[in-house]
Symmetry: D2
Subunit: 301 residues, 4 copies
């Protein structure tokens, strides 16, 4: 366990996270976890702002806890809280924990291609102070959105994807990203990431994909959905794993469509729900509200 | 084309459909259809209550029109309107039409198994006058809901499904249904209908099935959905074709769930959305608002 | 604080609440509450199933906590847990708590008038085992639903409301209710309760009322909403206080309507959302998920 | 009736409106309207793309019809279609109509203040070709959004609102707007328009306001809503009349909130639904899908 150290916040967040920290505890459920964690926070006179806890089976199942607490001397106290948690949780528990100073925003890189709806929604929310992250950079395989991104004061890097061999592009991505970001968002980035890249990058990656009932695999999903007459189009935000589009789901939503909607209308409605779902997923991830467990997530939203 | 003749209404519908008829016109789009239909209705001094029209391509695509009109002497006038439409639409159009006296409700049989949530919702809506149908009978492979159904004054027939050979049960179904119903609703009926049965029955069949993003095939879909951590559970009402669960979709909806919902909770939330979606689909079908075209539907809701 | 004692469960709940208790702690926030509560539960080897906590201001604001825990010998242990909590929370905290054995369902009386949509939805959910309550009785100012209610095995009492003087009817209500129920649900009960009755009854009362944007006061709200062309109709479930329809909101929802919906259609759509909203509110209340604070609620749904 | 003439389209719309016109017919219902209109369009060999019709009472109530048709030689044919409609509808009907070449987008001015969420959403939808309008200008009483607006290639005018006397500012507004725009959108413009200004401007004005159940009048509505514990926040888009916030509703929607949402969170969620609702209302208005009637609207969405 380490206390994540990050670059200072670009824009002040409206949310009063000053002097606040989040603590995620996750592992095998056992009697006494709550008391043990509570004792450490109590000893340090931490004010608990919120606490959410869930156990998928109180008899030896998996345990998930998210605590947000505040302390006047938070920065000074965190290292000792960390040591005390380590000591307390070492005693017969099978748990991991993650402690984070919420006044230090997580650093994110956004990958995009030509479509700008998800990208812009994130940039707008960030500028407005609604997204507690530092957007370290935007990377795209197309130069189209460069001016727009830079107008927000965010660095833009154009890394073309030349043909089937992605190794050069991925090497460039790794040079830009490693050590600089805490997570990555694929905002309608239309390239597949290799398993090797995902492993070497070593930080969470959030992706958004369209969802339909029934599912339409392959190219032109909106045309297939139109042909099938679906009444809902949706979107799913999930963590990227090697299994494309099969990683743990963070958030989903749908909008209603009708026979009168053309394929272009379905794409447009789909874009609306994609940007909304991705923004919520990024918000929750950046506020440490999402815990991964096997192939699903616990979201304390 | 025939004017559908049906048994008189059991309970008075609150919707003022007295003296009203619906006209569905469906076929290849061509200039002049609207004028031709309008001329026939105008000649008979019909008051047009509502008119919805859609063309998937105005240059030779498919044309769909639903008109509801009222006439004081509707019953007397309908046969002549029918003849006039036949004459008018015979002139160079490639169209079918369906003319129906809305004061005569369609007759429906409901199939159910043990779960009663969809069945009860339909019976209750019917009793309060919200569903303009005559429920001719309920057929179930389990006797469990017999008392309840009969308390609504609706005939209940128990037709057990004995093993893999469904031919005896299906023969019994056909004896009960043929000539007696205009459509069939599968209200969580947990048996598969054979293609032969569907063909011999010859009336539309509406089914409801749970829907998930992603889809979970086979038994125990709620347990699989729980494992995968879906954030939405849904339902799809569709017309039954030989391809199980692949027929034209009439209606879909979802509800939000979270990691804190157990498998039982997912089933319960799923049941809520199933009964809502099925009831809407049955309502729209019974009001002649749904037009099938290839493998999708036009719903003038 | 008392451990609520109630009649045994009529129907087995599907939710595995065997050996489970809920603990609600509510009062002024102060450092150390979590540790103090955790220590008591830890001492008794309680398995914490879920824990939700919220503070509207960690520096001396209001504190709300809901814990569900399980214990093999729950019934035997509860009195001692109660004493230990009393001792622990007496030390300098300004808190109330409520401890309840979840295997003992709360007892509810449902008040109804002629409309049956909310009433039936509650009765159905209860019979299915989805609502962890004992429905002690249904009281109505109209005899219309008597047969239906009794078919569920629930006592039905007809208490007519004769004119403006409600004192005789309210006296009869109190005779039926006092000591027999833990809360009351007004399922579209079209009579106003006097402040005196509410005070003398002394248990929570949940009401459902239609909601519109904008609000339409007085008789015929659906007709006014139609005239005003609203695009949403809704419902609000709330606790009853002396200020009619102004008590703490438990749950709200809306459905979409259009210009094509008649006043009857608005009522029908409104009824659908009313029964859904009321059922959720009753479910959450009966699972001890709702905490009242000033004129609003904390809902750990 | 006049055929509206407007400036050419700035950006190509993705919607295939080439050679398409919309016809709105609105007035007293009478037998024969559909046939009369159909005959005119039929005579000109118009291909009817869609047709929606509604009557609030087929016996002498109000009649509403929207037809979209296509013609190869649309621009040449429109004047004659206009004359033919005038002739046909003059014969004993009490109707108004509005004929518009859909390839000529309506011209709109957007008013904004400091909040940019609604403004940016409109500018962005317009740039990607989803909003079939020409944005003639943005007017604001604050200079804050000038750079951003101009980056979209749209003229920005700063018209400060100096104190309670709005006459100078309104005179400036009229100078900028008259003859230049077909409608105006108030995208969170925090100034009240005088009745005199509205009358002299003479084009439709669309406004967005937050909506709550219950409603909270005056300043700080989100703080009041938080205090009252609402579970939904919403937004209403409506036409502006002299009665502030009381004009015909075009669109409404809500999002779910909880006790855990702070006042800032409510504002943020409210902003999300405001921009979505306003964008839909502007889209429908610009596609001639909205008909005003008394104090409500017919929306053929």
């Amino acid at each position: 366990m380490t206390i994540v150290q990050q670059a200072p916040l670009q824009t002040p967040s409206r949310t009063p996270t000053h002097h606040q920290a989040s603590l995620i505890v996750h592992g095998r459920d056992r009697t006494g976890i709550v008391a043990a964690v509570g004792a450490v926070l109590g000893k340090h006179q931490a004010n608990i702002v919120s606490l959410d806890q869930y156990s998928d089976d109180p008899l030896g199942g998996a345990f998930f806890q998210r605590t947000v607490f505040s302390l006047n001397n938070l920065k000074a106290a965190l290292p000792q809280i960390d040591r005390d948690l380590k000591t307390a949780l070492a005693k017969g528990f099978d748990l991991e924990y993650r402690l984070r100073d919420l006044s230090i925003p997580q650093r994110v890189a956004i990958f995009a291609s030509k479509a700008d709806h998800c990208l812009l929604d994130l940039l707008w929310r960030h500028r407005r102070g609604d997204l507690p992250v530092t957007i370290a950079m935007v990377i795209s395989n197309h130069p189209d959105t460069a001016d727009e991104v830079r107008a927000f004061g965010i660095p833009f890097f154009h890394v073309p994807s030349a043909g089937p061999d992605k190794s050069a592009a991925e090497a460039e991505h790794l040079r830009l990203l490693r050590g600089n970001v805490d997570f990555v968002v694929l905002a309608r980035y239309m390239q597949i990431l290799s398993g090797d890249f995902i492993a070497r990058l070593g930080v969470p990656i959030i992706n958004i994909h369209h969802s339909f009932l029934p599912a339409f695999i392959g190219a032109g999903p909106h045309a297939k959905a139109k042909e099938r007459g679906v009444k809902l189009v949706g979107a799913t935000a999930h963590y990227v794993t090697e299994d494309l589009d099969e990683g743990p789901i963070i958030e989903q939503d749908v909008v209603r469509v009708s026979h009168a909607d053309s394929v272009v209308d379905l794409q447009r409605r789909g874009a609306d729900v994609e940007r909304a779902v991705l923004s919520r997923a990024v918000q929750w991830h950046s506020e440490d509200r999402v815990i991964r467990h096997h192939n699903h997530t616990i979201v304390f939203a």
